[in-house]
Amino acid sequence: MTTSTFSPQRLGTLLVALALLLAPLTLGGQEYVLRVLTVGATYAIAVYGMNLILGLTGQLSLAHGGFFGIGVYIVGLLTTDYDWAFWPSLLVAVVVTALGGFVSGVVALRTREEYFAIFTMAMGFIIFLVISRWESVTHAHSGVSGVKFPEGFGLLDFSEPIVMYYLVLLFLLGAAYVTHAVRRSGIGRTLVAIRTSEDLARSIGINVGLNKQLAFAASTTFAGLAGGLFAAVQGFVGPSAASIDLTFEMLMFILVGGLGTVLGPVVGTFIVLFLFEFFQDFEAYRFLVLGPIIVALVIFAPRGIVGYLNAFVGKLRSRGTGAGTGSGGPPEHRSSDTATDVKETL
């Protein structure tokens, strides 16, 4: 193994963490930016979940927004209609989305590739329909208002946006660390083996079905956790928090950041959200620009920003040391890998 005690990876992670930790201090009371950061951080947690199932295991789940919505609504409804405290509600959200993911995975993972994507898309849509139509429980389109802040037990006041930000950030760092730990361990090798070739994975003794199911459950758990936090950040939630559009937004975040990488989800989420906010000035016309940007990113930077940079620096290093350390990025994208190779030599 090539991990050394001091690696650029550690330095990089440290810098990202520092940037996120210090960002609010540079804002000088700009709560709007803090809000964008906080909301972005909750999304990023969910995107880490998507990274587990899509980036590492190679299964495109489009039910992700739906599970996020389940988390949102469990915390939203329990803390309002049932007057529960936040923390137990969040726990319920995590447990329900974990079990829900595991159980629905039994059926969902019988399908493969595009079928899995479409199956989960339908699942996500059904979740959305239930949330937006089951009036007696979810209040349908009226939404849920007055979601509680987390209890600080006299130590912390989570109604302060900055405190809430650090709470979400803590979970986000946790999600990133779990991704890092998983990737580095045998579990990560298992998942990547499944992504690369299910047959080969089977032949070296990997229980493909069970591992896919566990990865799916882990991904929905992240989504549920993120949803629960999102509900508290927003205070008011409506059915759009479970919509299929949200799934596609998250997919965009992770593709821009870099599939399967440790920093991709957080980098992608913040960059795309930043673009969204930036292009707000164009109002209805912003999608005239954003649409082509998305297409261009997918075509020209299919490994995402982090994946691309990794490959680039990896190449420089291997040229320096002679020993190839290789690169990250999704393995399937042969032709444009060659294209990036060409670009990198320039």
């Binding site: 580095r184 083996a193 032949s203 290789g326």
Partner: protein, 260 residues
């Protein structure tokens, strides 16, 4: 001692008898080869043994345990490893990472161990690395460990797939045409590698086209044609069996040698 015992094994694909009523004993510490013309059902037989296909009839016993129809991840855990006819690797990973993947089946640490970096996890990761390096050295490719699997020469790739299979610590290693597409010289190297594997205590099952290699390596040969056993025995008996000459060596001899 019989390591693997196959009785009356059959597999039908919509009316086609790919494997039909095959008996086979693989003895521990020996090399058992399965030969036959194209489409004789050799690879199907391997797939049945390793659990990739569920047999439609018959039994497979491994170390006196019934493993008929057991799924691959369990047969591997029990100690059967296999390689594929077309070299099958995690192409975008390094050679070392490929071989490390083979350690998954022998690992016990959970995701929590990984996240918490428990001593067990660290111990196991160290052990896995040692075993993987050992497998690389054993197959003679440790200098390629840092390279991307798809970028190393074909012979090395074939050795990687064997190292990967060895990393799962098998008792029985099923090699599906390990030398296909190699030069005469390289084939010699592979024959030696297979002998080393057996010397190291691993039993080998071999599907191979190249008669010279089979005849020099195998202790026991099973000849299949159209899914059925037509002969079995030592290389000497098989070589002289008229049915074998008829079905295989005779009709196809030239083509086989030419293609090889």
């Amino acid at each position: 001692m019989t390591l693997l015992e196959v009785r009356g094994l059959g597999k039908h694909f919509s009316g086609l008898h790919a494997v039909d009523d095959v008996d086979l004993d693989i003895s521990a510490g020996r090399i058992t080869a399965i030969i036959g013309p194209n489409g004789a059902g050799k690879s199907t037989l391997f797939n049945l043994l390793a659990g990739f296909y569920r047999p439609t009839s018959g039994t497979v016993r491994f170390k006196d345990r019934d493993i008929t129809g057991m799924s691959p991840h369990r047969t591997v855990a029990h100690g059967i490893a296999r390689t594929f006819q077309t070299t099958n690797l995690f192409e975008d990973a390094t050679v070392l990472d490929n071989v490390l993947s083979g350690r998954v089946v022998r690992s016990h640490s959970t995701v929590f161990d990984a996240v918490l970096r428990t001593p067990r996890h660290r111990r196991e990761e160290r052990l896995n690395l040692d075993k993987a390096m050992a497998a690389l050295e054993f197959t003679g490719i440790s200098e390629y460990r840092g390279e991307i699997a798809s970028s190393v020469p074909q012979e090395v790739q074939k050795r990687v797939s064997i190292a990967l299979a060895l990393a799962t610590e098998p008792e029985l290693l099923l090699l599906d045409e390990p030398a296909a597409g190699l030069t005469e010289e390289e084939t010699g190297g592979f024959a030696q590698l297979i002998r080393d594997i057996v010397a190291d205590g691993v039993t080998v099952g071999l599907v191979e086209h190249r008669m010279s290699m089979v005849m020099s390596l195998a202790d026991h040969i099973l000849v299949l044609d159209h899914g059925k056993e037509i002969a079995a025995g030592t290389p000497e008996t098989v070589r002289t069996d008229p049915q074998v000459i008829e079905a295989y060596l005779g009709a196809d001899h030239q083509e086989q040698e030419g293609a090889g």
